[in-house]
Every structure is written in structure tokens, then in C-alpha cells.
Symmetry: C2
Subunit: 350 residues, 2 copies
């Protein structure tokens, strides 16, 4: 009988953050692709677009005019999924199949730059540091609202990720409950902390730094790696090297180091298929419920959909929805590909 | 303070099958859409396509020729995510961040019809019954293999759902473990069964049949409804009215009734936006691990991506990946829209 070879044989890997498995099929990357191709975003956007509701000076759907902002700029989402209004509600204590509860929250949009055509990999370090301090301010302000228990900072980049405007921007949804994925993560971090008295992600990072198989880029304060249990072909996670429960724990040196690794990682992403690389990214950190949360470690997820080229993505569909996430390339191979890419943006080289 | 109105106010609903929540934003369906549009599949496919590897008589990638099949036709997937080979593996009993195990399995493709351009809603009842008996046979055969613990029957329909060939077909992935989503469902069904001595889905169905708010179509043996906790805009579930742990429990009358409801539901789907409606569907039923599984109830999920039209889909991206699934239209409204649609396929009427 053949011995198990993790680089060759179909296998499952375990994700301790959410207590779920992923099916890995290393041999399957070779199958031919006859399905849908994505359209590549054009590289010829103007620096300012009169029809863009995020550009400085332009008017938004609600009639408000954007200021002539120079760095990042934050406003309330005009089509928020959450509302701030307090709703009277009495919980039904009986067991029921129709369990629902009102949810209060605040949604904001964070423009990353006044320039319509500039994304993170092409921004200056200073400009990225400015975004980080905006995230810190929003985490503090929104987290400080009495009923807000969780502040979700995220970015949808590229039309394939549902982004409806190429102007560089992210969002923040702050709300009165812990969302499902965060609650799952918190439960697993807490169980580990109670058992070991240490932090799951920091302990994991120590082992990854020894093995060096899945590291993409590293500096004094942060590491970007492809998690052992990654589900997306080029999924990565940025983890702080020191115990940081939240973004407001950063020292100034850590803010600079975080800006640096964000720029390096997204440059590598763009260089992979020489395209403006689509992804959804998001920060997971301590909830704002007033507790200490030593079990938490600040980290940022990147979930990019592309698999083989600028136009062929991985579809998480039938089997993945009904059964389990599945991937066709090993995390080690993806990490190696990303690691070996230049730190200089392909547009700069041309 | 305003009283909670589930039809108007942002809220969360609880899914007892997987112990997760969904965020519902009823007011948000009104926001304008400036993002990606999907391409509509052309209606002008030929009945036979010389270049299609699923059409009768044509040659597949591995050099094998398809027979001149007349109903459904099953073959082993030439690019399977799973392999049948047994792999020697010794489990590491120590706690580790690098938990992996080989996975064995069999993947098959089920062609639904020899006709390249025929999908479920346009097939005859007899032809759909033939597919059902193929599914029964495969569940028995694959489930009978000693190491196979779970048989996942599913269909990816439409290029937007990663389907690489419009020829009507589904897939079956049978494997040596219970996939993540199935295991979650089984755990929750089991907890309910142990506590109440009855079946979660049958008890739920009784209440839905009383309320009639989320039923789409119903016959003597099956009900298609939009679950109270649905995440996709037009997500549905078909449930048997009698305790059926698996597809091989069907009486002949139940097979006919299941074919009927499959046809009715998919006709309504096509009629919604007058397009060949994309979705991923899949059957959840008792595992094939040799246990009795009274906690299980046969059901079939439909996860369609479209939201507003034939070209605008719902993106489950940043917030949904990092936080929680989110929907912009209530399940009650979706059920009403589907229920009120004609049972005659729009192409038949023209
Ligand atoms: O097997 P297919 O149709 O080539 O591939 C499709 O379905 C599979 C099972 O859901 C997915 O893993 C693939 O990403 C998708 O493109
Ligand atoms: O808020 P946007 O950018 O209009 O919308 C996008 O991001 C949201 C949050 O992930 C999703 O709910 C939407 O489906 C997506 O299109």
C-alpha cells in the first residue's frame, strides 16, 4: 500500500479556528477548464471620474457632496444593511423553529484614496498608514457606542467580488451581536486559551516560523502566510508576532510594519497574474463588548477567488456548499509561488 | 420605541440545521446596482454538439467513447477530486496544528439526458423519474462500497455556478468521511432527536404547513419551501412529508411525486427571470456508514445565486465571508414570488 504523501494524495486538513475541514486534491490542478471566464478589469481608469460617487467633490445618492479629501475619507453607507434605530423586542423563551432577533448597527464606507485608480499595492506607505489609523479610529469610535459588540472591517476588491465601484474603498459593519464566523472563531480561541493558557494563533505562528513552508513575506512585527487549512487557492492571513488583541494595540513601529506588509502582499498578488488581483479581505480581532479577550489575536484574512489566471476563478459551488470546501493546489505550493514573486509591482517594471 | 417588524427591520434568523445565523436586511433590496452583470446563457444550444464530451457517441478526455444513451448515463469523473486508491496512514495522536488525513472516494458524472439543450424543467416526468432511479442505484452501489461513508449527489447548473458544460448533468462524490456541512447537520439532527424523540425536519415541516407563508409548491408526498433561515435570495428546500431517511426509501408513488415537484420548482425558477435559472442543488440524507440514522430526513437544497434579474446575482463576499451570511429580501417575499409564478414553462407559452 502506498504511503500518504500530503503533496500528492487527496486529503482533508483541519481548521482549528472554525473547527471545520477542507478537502485538498493536489493532483486536480491539471484538469482542463472549459467554464466561465471572468472579465479582466481594464487598467485605464482615470484618476478622477465625474460619475463616481466616491471621488472627491462628487455628489452621492443621498444628495451629499464628498469633501475634497486628501487621504482616506469615511462616511455612513447610504444603503446600509443595518440600521441604528433601537427596536423593541421581547425574546420568546420557548423553543421555536422561528427564532429571530432584531439587529442594530452602523455601516460605514472608507475611501482609501482620493485617486479613483489607485489600489493598495500602488499606494505610498504613508497613505496606507493613514488607512490604518482610520481603521484604528473607527474601531475605537464605533466600538465605543454602547450597543456595538463587534466592528467588522473589510474590503471587497474587484467586480468578481461584488465590488460595484473600482474607486479604492473598504467598508465597516459594526453591530450589536457577534456575527457567526467571529463567534465560531472566538469559541475555538477561548477553548484553546482555557486549556493551554496561551494564544492559539501565536502558538501556531511559532511553528510556521520554524517550518517556513507557508510563509509569504515577513518583517519584524508581522507575518503573511498561507494557512495550513486555507480554502481559497491563494488565501493568506497576516498575523502579528506579538500578542495584539486589536488594531489599537499597535505601536507606531507596528503600524508602519503593518502598512509595509499590506503593500508587499498586495504587490505579490497583483504580480501573480499581472492583473489588479481581486479579493475580499477582513480583520478579525477582539469584540468591543467591554471584556478583555486575551484569547484573541489580531489577524487579517485575504480570500482571493482566482485559481489559474486573471480570468479563471475557483468556484465554491455544489460539493463545496453541500459538503465541504475543496481546493486543487496545496497551500505549500501557493505560498511558494507568492513568495517567489517580485516585491516590485509589475506596472512599475514596464 | 418602534416594535420589531420582521418584514421591515434588520434582524438575524437562526438555522437549527447548522447552528448558524443569517443577517436579514429587508429594506436593502432597494439599493441601486452598479456592479458586475452576469452573461445570460444563450437559448440557442443545439440538441447535439459534436464538441461536447457528454453528448452520446462523443469521445471524452480519457479517450473513452460515450454510448448512444437514451435516458440518464453515468461514468467515472475523468478529473476526480478523490481517488479510490487506499493510502497507508498512521494518525498522529498528539495535538497538532497540522492535522491532515488521506481521503478516499469515487466521483461520478450523471448525464441527465442525451439532449445537449434540455434541462430539468423542460424534461418529461418519465425522464426525471429515470434520473431519480439512477440516483437511487448510485446511492446503493456507492454506499455499498466498504469504505464509503457518505454519498453526495449534487448539480451545478449554469456557468455562474462553475458549470463548465451546459449539457444537463450532475455529479456524485462518494467518500470515506462525512463532509463538514453534513457532519454539522447530522450533529444538530441527532441532538434534536435525542431530546425530542422526533425528527427536526418533520416537526419543522408540520409548522410550515400550518403557517403556509414560505411554501412554494406542495403535493401528496413532498413540499418545496423557502426555509425560514434561507441565505440565498431564492433558496429552497424539498422535504418529504413522511419519514424518509434516504432516497431508496421512496415508494414508486413517492418517486413520481418527487419528479413532479422537481419539475414544478425548476419551472418556477426559470419563469422568475425568464432565463435558464442557475443554481447548485444537492441531496442531504443518511450517511452510508451502516448505522440506522433515524435522526435523518431526506431533503434537497437549492442554492441559486440570482437576486434581481437574470444578470444580477447576490455576492456572498467580504462581510458574508468574515462575518455572516446576509440577505436583502425576506424568505416570505421570495416564497410568495415563486409561489405566484406559473407552472407552465415560459418557453412553452411563447
Ligand atoms: O467538477 P466540475 O464541474 O468541473 O467543477 C465544478 O464543480 C466542483 C464541485 O462542486 C467544484 O469543485 C469546481 O470548482 C467547479 O468548477
Ligand atoms: O455593500 P456593497 O459593496 O454594495 O455590496 C457588496 O458587499 C456586501 C458586503 O459584503 C454584500 O452584502 C453585497 O452582496 C456585495 O455586493
Amino acid at each position: 500500500m502506498k504511503n500518504f504523501d500530503i503533496n500528492e494524495d487527496p486529503h482533508r486538513r483541519y481548521n482549528p479556528l472554525i473547527n471545520e475541514w477542507v478537502l485538498v486534491s493536489p493532483h486536480r490542478a491539471k484538469r482542463p477548464w472549459q467554464g466561465q471566464n471572468e472579465t479582466v478589469s481594464s487598467n485605464t481608469l482615470p484618476e478622477y471620474d465625474t460619475t463616481c460617487y466616491l471621488c472627491p467633490g462628487n455628489v452621492r445618492a443621498n444628495g451629499m457632496e464628498n469633501p475634497a479629501y486628501e487621504n482616506s475619507f469615511v462616511f455612513e453607507n447610504d444603503f446600509a444593511a443595518l440600521k441604528q434605530e433601537e427596536i423593541a423586542f421581547e425574546e420568546n423563551k420557548e423553543e421555536s423553529f422561528f427564532k429571530a432577533q432584531p439587529e442594530r448597527g452602523i455601516s460605514r464606507v472608507v475611501c482609501f484614496s482620493p485617486k479613483h485608480n489607485l489600489t493598495l499595492p500602488e499606494m505610498s506607505l504613508n497613505a496606507i498608514e493613514d488607512i490604518i489609523s482610520t481603521w484604528q479610529k473607527e474601531y475605537t469610535d464605533l466600538g465605543g457606542v454602547d450597543y456595538i459588540k463587534h466592528v467588522q472591517i473589510f474590503e471587497n476588491k474587484g467586480s468578481v467580488m461584488g465590488c460595484s465601484n473600482p474607486h479604492p474603498h473598504g467598508q465597516i459593519w459594526a453591530q450589536s451581536s457577534l456575527p457567526t464566523e467571529v463567534e465560531k472563531t472566538q469559541n475555538n480561541l477561548k477553548t484553546y486559551f482555557d486549556k493551554h493558557g496561551s494564544n492559539l494563533l501565536l502558538d501556531y505562528l511559532q511553528e510556521e516560523l520554524k517550518l517556513k513552508e507557508r510563509i509569504v513575506v515577513e518583517n519584524d512585527h508581522f507575518v503573511a502566510l498561507v494557512p495550513f487549512w486555507a480554502i481559497w487557492p491563494f488565501e493568506t492571513m497576516i498575523i502579528g508576532k506579538r500578542h495584539l488583541t486589536k488594531i489599537t494595540d499597535f505601536t507606531p513601529a507596528e503600524s508602519t510594519a503593518f502598512a509595509t506588509i499590506l503593500k508587499q502582499l498586495t504587490i505579490k498578488y497583483d504580480n501573480l497574474f499581472e492583473t489588479s488581483f481581486p479579493y475580499s479581505s477582513g480583520i478579525h480581532q477582539a469584540p468591543t463588548d467591554g471584556e478583555a479577550h486575551p484569547e484573541w489575536q489580531f489577524h487579517m484574512h485575504f480570500y482571493p477567488p482566482l485559481l489559474r489566471s486573471a480570468t479563471v476563478k475557483k468556484f465554491m459551488v455544489g460539493y463545496e456548499m453541500m459538503g465541504e470546501s475543496q481546493r486543487d493546489i496545496t497551500p505549500e505550493k501557493s505560498a511558494e509561488m507568492l513568495r517567489n514573486l517580485s516585491d516590485v509591482h509589475y506596472k512599475q517594471k514596464a
